[in-house]
């Protein structure tokens, strides 16, 4: 310490000069005028030049820290990408639903699937729409893919829908290309079957099957599925037509209930005709 003080005493003029110059520079820096701003700017330029020159020497600790920050950033960005991807898919799905709604002049009620059974012979879904929304039995259920089924039962706020994949499901259907009619039903396995189509009728794999005008439950021209296989067995008057459903029931989340499809005048007339017979 004494040696240090001796050195200070020996160079006291220089020490005083350095200290007073530093104090003067601090006082200068406290000003906010064009000169000080220019000096600050020049100083930053000089410091930047030296920093850039020294940047070629890698700093191991800084690199490690930077690496950690980048890893963290990478994780955050990956998470964000996943969320954006999810949002994009949801956006596509909702756009499709919106497009479907615009295509159909029929009254449509949008609802969510809150329950589902797909591995029984009589598969159903539960939707969060009920009588308070105007939902009644026999109202058709559709989605952006096509026909889903019809309402079986409804309570105040919920309804049970019979799916196309149900042993009790039947609907009048037609081939879009050749206008051939038939009855669509589920075979209890992976496919639907278009029945009552004579061997002479024109049906080919790839044909689109749609609801026909003959149904008094389902509105016409709603896609049901695509013909995947057509077979003709000897001794059988009809073709065996396998149809793959257009709706992916396993990922079904949103549906529409068609509220104003049936023609009541037509229904009444048909009922009267049955009674007359």
């Amino acid at each position: 310490m004494q040696r240090f003080l001796n050195i200070l005493a020996l160079f006291k003029e220089y020490v005083a000069l350095v200290l007073l110059v530093i104090i003067s520079l601090i006082l200068l820096g406290a000003n906010d005028n064009v000169q000080v701003r220019a000096i600050r700017s020049s100083t930053i330029g000089v410091v930047g030049f030296f920093q850039r020159a020294l940047a070629v020497i890698p700093n191991v600790f800084e690199l490690k820290k930077e690496n950690e920050i980048l890893r963290q950033l990478n994780v955050n960005l990956s998470d964000e990408v996943n969320r954006l991807r999810e949002a994009r898919l949801e956006n596509i799905r909702l756009r499709n639903l919106l497009g479907l709604r615009e295509q159909h002049p029929l009254g449509l009620l949008a609802g969510d699937v809150v329950g589902k059974s797909l591995h029984l012979l009589r598969n159903t879904i539960t939707v969060n729409l009920g009588e308070s929304d105007g939902v009644k039995a026999d109202m058709p259920i559709i989605s952006e893919g096509g026909l889903v089924g019809r309402i079986l039962l409804s309570s105040r706020h919920y309804a049970i829908g019979q799916l196309v994949l149900n042993k009790d499901f039947r609907a009048s259907a037609k081939i879009q290309r050749s206008r051939v009619d038939g009855i669509i039903a589920w075979d209890g396995e992976d496919f639907l079957r278009l029945n009552n189509v004579a061997k002479t009728q024109d049906v080919r794999p790839g044909d689109v099957v749609m609801t026909s005008e003959y149904s008094n439950i389902y509105p016409p021209n709603i896609e049901i599925g695509i013909v995947t296989k057509v077979t003709e067995k000897p001794g059988n008057l009809f073709k065996e037509i396998e149809v793959s459903p257009s709706v992916d029931f396993s990922s079904l989340e949103q549906i529409f209930v068609v509220t104003a499809s049936s023609d009541t005048e037509r229904d009444d007339l048909e009922r009267k005709a049955v009674r007359t017979r």
Binding site: A16, L27, N33, V34, S41
Partner: protein, 161 residues
């Protein structure tokens, strides 16, 4: 101690003269700097450390009185006092003050002082540093050196008496 108080009171007086009266002696925008003469005098009489400390104090006082650019005169006069202190010789103080040496020291010190002053002052102002030093700095230096003739003759006379 009494001498330091005397120096302080004279310093205050010179600061007031420089800030209030010297503008009356302005020629073509050039004003002589009697504070630099005073700092050189103090450095030649009291030594380099005292010259440096008085340079800083005088400069700061002048900055505070004028309020224009706090720290600029303090910086330039600190260095001026330090430089003038190099010419300090305890045994030849009267000889130096009463001869042309005093003027030469004021010239050198004033030139360094003005170079530092205008180096900072011209930053970002659009005025060229060399133009400022040659047109204003040198003129101020020579004007200040000319004014130094007065104290030099006074010291010379005192020495001969």
């Amino acid at each position: 101690m009494t001498r330091q108080i005397k120096f302080f009171l004279l310093s205050v007086l010179f600061v007031l003269i420089q800030s209030q009266i010297m503008r009356l002696l302005t020629l073509e925008g050039i004003t002589p700097d009697i504070l630099t003469i005073w700092v050189v005098y103090l450095a030649l009489r009291e030594g380099q450390l005292a010259g440096t400390l008085w340079g800083f104090s005088l400069g700061l006082m002048f900055d505070l009185v004028t309020g224009s650019f706090i720290g600029l005169s303090a910086l330039s006069k600190t260095v001026a006092g330090f430089v003038a202190g190099y010419f300090f010789n305890e045994n030849k103080t009267a000889l130096t003050l009463g001869s042309y040496r005093f003027i030469v020291i004021v010239l050198i010190t004033s030139l360094i002082h003005n170079t530092i002053y205008f180096f900072v002052f011209t930053q970002g102002s659009g005025i060229g540093l060399l133009a400022a030093i040659f047109q204003v700095g040198l003129a101020t230096t020579f004007y200040t050196a000319t004014i130094t003739l007065l104290p030099m003759f006074a010291f010379s006379r005192r020495r001969s008496v």
